[in-house]
């Protein structure tokens, strides 16, 4: 488990000054930290969206989410050695969606009626399976992965390098991550609030018997939920890997932050996942900067405390409305 600690400490952290001046004395440092916090928070947000998507549509918490995302990112990497960026990207999304749907059908459907513990255990099985498979197929060495140059026909955007306003800079990649998070959230919002498919998915998560009685093919909805979630997870993986490189541990390392984000947002709210992700990102960065260095690194502790605090004070999160079910 050492890998997790190391991987987290190894990236996204801005240089920690030995004794940082308080925010009012160096506002640009503060602004810089907030911005980088938003950058890393966007990563957490996308993975949190994937978590929320499955939870909201199938009532299962997927502990294998990070590993599935990592696995599909390796698939993207393999595709990219064969074809240009965009086809590889969309093909990956397709493969991920098919994989997610197939997993739901094969291993989650059989425990659907059983207590929630059984489903959690199955997703933990997925966790170790995907880690193991990725190690076996792609090996333990990190792979170079981006930042890419996006080709939009009429213009190109190189995601490498920063954009600056005065002293405060942010990586272009971070901006792209943030934009991607917002786009995914908007798409999910439209799906759930404005389409019949989304409505049927929400109904399925809530009451399966009633859903069947109005004619919703419940099994298909569950598969769609997993498929969509796996695709969103793949997007998360692609961005995480561009930020920190691609290795078997890189997604597992941020799963705790994604969970913290999802919990903060209420586990079933896409908007909540984004707000939660950004909050965790910023708080984590500020803690990293202003907590005295003698204390040591506290990024995980911050996530842990946030999770515990939210669960104690408001278990439905900030944006969650749903009452807790299936104890």
């Amino acid at each position: 488990m050492e890998a997790i600690g190391l991987a987290v400490a190894g990236y996204l952290d801005v240089v920690v000054l030995s004794t940082p001046p308080p925010p009012w004395e160096d506002p640009s440092l503060f602004a810089q930290q907030v911005l980088s916090g938003i950058a890393s928070g966007s990563l957490f947000a996308i993975l949190a969206l994937a978590v929320v998507l499955i939870y909201r549509s199938t009532d299962v918490l997927n502990f294998g989410q990070g590993e599935m995302a990592m696995f599909t990112t390796f698939i993207a990497w393999s595709f990219m050695t064969q074809m240009p960026l965009w086809p590889a990207f969309f093909l990956t999304l397709l493969v991920a969606a098919a994989m997610g749907a197939a997993l739901e059908r094969l291993v989650l459907r059989p425990v659907e009626e059983a207590p929630v513990l059984n489903a959690v255990i199955v997703t933990l099985g997925l966790y170790t399976i995907f880690t193991g498979l990725a190690l076996r197929v792609w090996g333990p060495l990190p792979k170079g992965f981006g930042p890419f140059t996006l080709d939009f026909l009429f213009f190109e955007i190189d995601l490498a390098g920063p954009v600056c306003a005065g002293e405060v800079c942010i990586g272009k990649l971070s901006v792209a991550t943030f934009v991607a998070a917002v786009i995914i959230m908007a798409l999910l919002f439209v799906l759930f609030q404005r389409t019949m498919l989304g409505l049927a998915m929400r109904a399925t998560a809530q009451n399966r018997t009633a859903s069947r009685l109005v004619g919703i093919p419940v099994g298909r909805m569950l598969s769609v939920g997993w498929g969509l979630s796996a695709a969103v997870g793949a997007v998360a993986g692609v961005f995480v890997a561009q930020n920190v490189g691609l290795s078997t541990g890189s997604l597992a390392a941020i799963l705790i932050f994604a969970f913290a984000a999802a919990v903060l947002g209420g586990l079933d709210s896409p908007v909540g996942a984004i707000v939660g992700g950004l909050t965790i990102g910023v708080v984590r960065n500020l803690a990293g900067t202003y907590v005295p260095s003698e204390v040591g690194s506290v990024d995980l502790v911050v996530a842990f405390l946030l999770i515990v605090l939210v669960l104690m004070v408001r278990p439905t999160g900030i944006f969650g409305r749903r009452a807790l079910r299936r104890v």
């Binding site: 488990m1 059984n118 959690v120 099985g125 193991g132 204390v295 502790v301």
Partner: protein, 365 residues
Amino acid sequence: MAAALLRPRTLGFALLAVVLVIFPYLHGWPVFSAFISEFRTFNATMLAVWLLVVLSMNLLTGYSGQISLGHAAVVLVGAYTAGVLVDQLGVPLPLAILLAGVFTGIAGGVIIGLPAVRLAGPYLAIATFSLVITLPQILKMGGIRNWTNPSRGISIDAVQPPGLVDGFLDERQWLYYITMATAVFMTILAWNLVRSRIGRAFVALRDSEIAAEQMGINVPLYKALAFGISSFYAGIAGGLYFMVLAFVHPESLGFLDSILFLVAIVVGGLATILGSIFGAFFLTFQGELIDELATIIPEAEKLRGVIYGSLLIVVMILFPRGMAGFVQDLVRTLGRITAARRHGGLSSNPPAQDDTNGESDAQGR
């Protein structure tokens, strides 16, 4: 009376006791030395430690239905408590282990148990997941790290047998006896616990909190109690773990171990003592089994994670009652066959409610 002593179960337990007592000497005996190496004594010692870990996990997750993905962290807290007590305060090791159990039990009951009262399954899973991921970082934080020594961990000299038994026992055998004795004692304790009012309350609140409440069970109290008792077991197990390995480090036990513990209770059988024993065997020998497998299928070593995961999923789907469920069904079927042969049989000992009484599977809701 004499007839009771000759019942198969009594005989079985007597035989088991004899085996446990003579086990560390078996490797020196003529026939047995052929297939039992001296190293097996260490295996058996670790088996005792894992037994307590699995029992602890089963009390919480199997019987009480509270999902814990952070059990490795709880065991680690036990190990570290014992370590710090010995290393920093010079507390004698046996006392340190007992204190580790008490401290972990209270901490688990109050710090995790009381808040957990309000948490439904998935939330509890997230909270305990984040605990096990975060604990190493907590152990490395300033203020604490002077005690925990994260860079090198805490190590002690191997435990020596006391003068009284010196000469009869070597270190390894002595370690085996005290660990195994503790484990056996606590297993019997757990056996009684799950059959007591408390144990039945645990099962009731697992099956339906609402129903449990209507039966007059104080749900928050019993939930916290489940965490407390389970953590006590985990703490003792952690203390013994420290004693046996004479070493502890912030990364000694982590999330993957938590998953392994879960595999152990699931494969062994949720909510059974027998299943916990199977689970302990699994934890002790899984590494060796996979190494063994690797000599046949070279890929096995690399596919460790895939094997664990598949095992977890396959067992969960096909045999949700684990090995213990399988054995119980077998015993029941055999019992029925013999009873049928005896043509109705004697009503004094109907096989169906013999040793499965009070043992219930996790599918019970």
